[in-house]
């Protein structure tokens, strides 16, 4: 597999039937100036030509710093934002072309799970109403059937059926995240995009939610896209990981492979930056902290976007954009001077 075209290469070999397939997805947001005329003066290149695919039942992790476009990509997948160009195929059809009623009907198969359990639940609605709402919107079942489904869902996420009459403020952060999961599961989705599912939670609660996600996946054959800035969480839960930098996918590969044999200097820098809860490991780390900060996505650097912070950058990195190359089975990276020999 030595292709420079990322879209077919990102599909794992032997599985022609990618469940979710992103092909050259582009999303830009206009930057305007002037209070009345709102002239367009530029655009934020939030997602630039991103391609990857996800198998059914797989957990795909998406990592990167804030502002790298990972959340925008998540919103594009569930069609909360519409893409500017490219295609998103889901379960055999081109999801990104659907509109109106077709989109609404298909949408129940893809659900977005929000980050903040404090802000994503309406404080004036009872838990039962919150979980039932998707059923009401999609007009599924009678009131009685809906109530039964709500109780079943609460049980599924480990909450008492008595919770239906309570308000969100009566629950702790971890319990609220469980309510969030119950709502996401209401319509029996096939794919869940979880945007920072545990970053607002205490360390001791995180593991409960991560274990819950794993159990639900097994029981319902769910496919997950887990978006997080925390590589240790993503590595724990994901089968494969995609690393994003400034709107670009720079490396994608199986979780352990990416950790052991990172090819892209950005991935290596990200791994290096994460503190390990072990003084012996932490104190033996060298002094190669990644310097600088994420450049502006309005005027991204020419050529390789990472070159301004890259310790290996040379003249060619400013001139041409590195293509995606293979570094082993299912392992791709876009770098002129990778840390691993290309396969």
């Amino acid at each position: 597999m030595t292709t420079t075209d990322a879209s077919p290469a990102a599909a794992p070999p032997g599985t022609d039937t990618a469940f979710l397939d992103l092909r050259h997805v582009v999303k830009e947001f206009p930057v305007t100036a002037g209070s009345v005329l709102q002239r367009k003066v530029g655009s934020v290149k939030a997602v630039s030509d991103v391609s990857f695919s996800v198998r059914k039942g797989e957990t795909f992790g998406l990592v990167g710093e804030s502002g790298c476009g990972k959340t925008t990509l998540g919103r594009l997948i569930v069609a909360l934002d519409r893409l500017d160009s490219g295609q998103i195929w889901f379960d055999g059809s081109e999801f990104s072309r659907l509109h109106g009623r077709d989109l609404r009907r298909r949408r129940r198969d893809l659900q977005l799970m929000f980050q903040d359990p404090y802000a994503s639940l309406d404080p004036r609605m009872r838990v039962g109403t919150i979980i039932r709402e998707p059923l009401a919107v999609q007009r599924i079942g009678s009131r009685k059937e809906q109530d039964a489904r709500v109780r079943e869902l609460l049980q599924e996420v480990g909450l008492s059926p008595k919770s239906v009459d309570l308000y969100p403020h009566e629950f702790s952060g971890g319990q609220r995240q469980r309510i969030g999961f119950a709502r996401v599961l209401t319509l029996n989705p096939k794919l869940i995009v979880a945007d920072e599912p545990v970053s607002a939670l205490d360390v001791s609660i995180r593991s409960q939610i991560l274990n819950l996600m794993n159990n639900l996946q097994k029981r319902h054959d769910l496919t997950y896209i887990v978006i997080s800035h925390d590589l240790s969480v993503v590595k724990y839960i994901a089968d494969r990981i995609g690393v994003m930098y400034l709107g670009k996918l720079v490396e994608v590969g199986p979780s352990q492979m990416l950790y052991d044999h990172a090819a892209h200097p950005y991935t290596a820098g990200l791994i290096e930056a994460i503190p390990i809860p072990d003084p012996a490991v932490e104190r033996n780390k060298g002094d190669n902290t990644m310097q600088g900060e994420l450049p502006s996505a309005v005027n991204p650097p020419s050529g390789c976007r990472f070159r301004t912070r890259c310790p290996r950058a040379q003249a060619i990195c400013a001139e041409s954009e590195p293509p995606m190359r293979s570094f082993g089975p299912q392992h791709l990276a876009a770098c002129h001077f990778p840390l691993q020999p290309a396969a």
């Binding site: 360390v203 001791s204 593991s207 991560l210 809860p277 072990d278 003084p279 012996a280 902290t289 900060e293």
Partner: protein, 334 residues
């Protein structure tokens, strides 16, 4: 090593309409010159309240019920508001979690830093501005002469946190309280800021109280660690000792519940069942007992004191890890 800060049996309470929350319940600690003491625990365990008690910046209804907070031998507890103003920002400085909200959006970076210098050191405007430029250079601000005239919104999160650190260091405090200094930042920026704090601490011989929930941050940066649970200190040890031989079941459970990047995790992560107790009505038995896998009858009858056989590694537990017969330790490293 001379102790810069000594806290003795500190109790901080918060009066609410129907109850008194005993947020900090008998905490004692000391930090020496050039030392970093890590304070870890879950949200609501009282770690921030401990830090804010030193500054006497408590929320409405909050007060120090008893105990002493000695800074270089002087007890801060009886001091009035006027005297505390000479302490805050001068002898003790705080680095808060969120650089978005801890800076004044209507003041330039330079004015914010020099304000404190002018008040505490009584120097001229020009001298204070000179000092502001010096500390901006010290914290590694790129193009400091230009950035000194910037407003906070013109800077990125990482640079804003550098400004917050510069403000904290401007008057050369003896003690810096860093309350989750990097939680709002990206991992790559977090590493830069932590490197900076460690370097400055060594260069300026400050004492640092590092408050965080992240055991990874503690592992690399603290000399000693105190683990706090429900308003009490449950275990104290040097960082290497704590990670190698943890005695308190809570410390063990905390470590077992976080996924480690450098390990292959095949089993489900350990998760601590239940919730911490309500500190308005603290129990008279071990506070961790309802969530503890080693709990026995004695844990339900009495509350353990901080003690044990090693003076350098005290813990508050009747059934410490590794000393109970049948059960294997949780999350034993593979």
């Amino acid at each position: 090593m001379a102790a810069v800060l000594e806290i003795e049996s500190l109790k901080t309470h918060i009066r609410q309409r129907h109850a008194v929350v005993q947020a900090v319940d008998g905490v004692s600690l000391s930090i020496g010159e050039g030392e970093t003491l890590g304070l870890v625990g879950e949200s609501g365990c009282g770690k921030t309240m401990t830090g804010m008690s030193i500054m006497k910046l408590l929320p409405p209804g909050g007060y120090i019920a008893s105990g002493q907070v000695r800074l270089n031998g002087r007890d801060l507890v009886p001091l009035g508001e006027g005297e505390m103003r000479h302490v805050r920002g001068n002898e003790v400085a705080v680095i808060f979690q969120d650089p978005m909200t801890s800076l004044n959006p209507t003041m330039t970076v330079g004015n914010q830093i020099s304000e404190g210098v002018r008040i505490h050191k009584g120097v001229s405007r020009a001298a204070a501005r000179e000092r502001a430029l010096d500390v901006l250079k010290l914290v590694g601000m790129p193009r400091p002469a230009e950035r000194i005239n910037y407003y906070p919104h013109q800077l990125s999160g990482g640079l804003r946190q550098r400004v917050v650190i510069a403000m904290a260091l401007a008057c050369e405090p003896k003690l810096v309280i860093a309350d989750e200094p990097t939680t709002a930042l990206d991992v790559t920026i977090q590493a830069q800021i932590l490197d900076l704090l460690t370097e400055l601490k060594a260069r300026l011989r400050m004492a640092v109280l590092l408050i965080t929930h992240d055991l990874g941050v503690i592992a690399g940066r603290a000399d000693r660690v105190m683990v706090m649970y429900a308003g009490k200190i449950v275990e104290v040890a040097s960082t290497t000792e704590l990670f190698a031989h943890r005695h308190h079941p809570y410390t063990e459970a905390l470590l077992a519940s976080i996924p480690r990047l450098d390990q292959i995790q095949t089993d489900a992560l350990y998760s601590i069942p239940g919730l911490p107790p309500d500190l308005a009505h603290p129990p008279t038995w071990c506070r961790f007992q309802p969530r503890c896998r080693y709990a026995t009858q004695v844990c339900r009858d009495a509350e353990p004191e901080l003690g044990g056989t090693e003076p350098s590694h005290p813990y508050a537990c009747f059934n410490p890890v590794g000393q109970v017969g049948a059960s294997a330790p949780v999350g034993a490293a593979s």
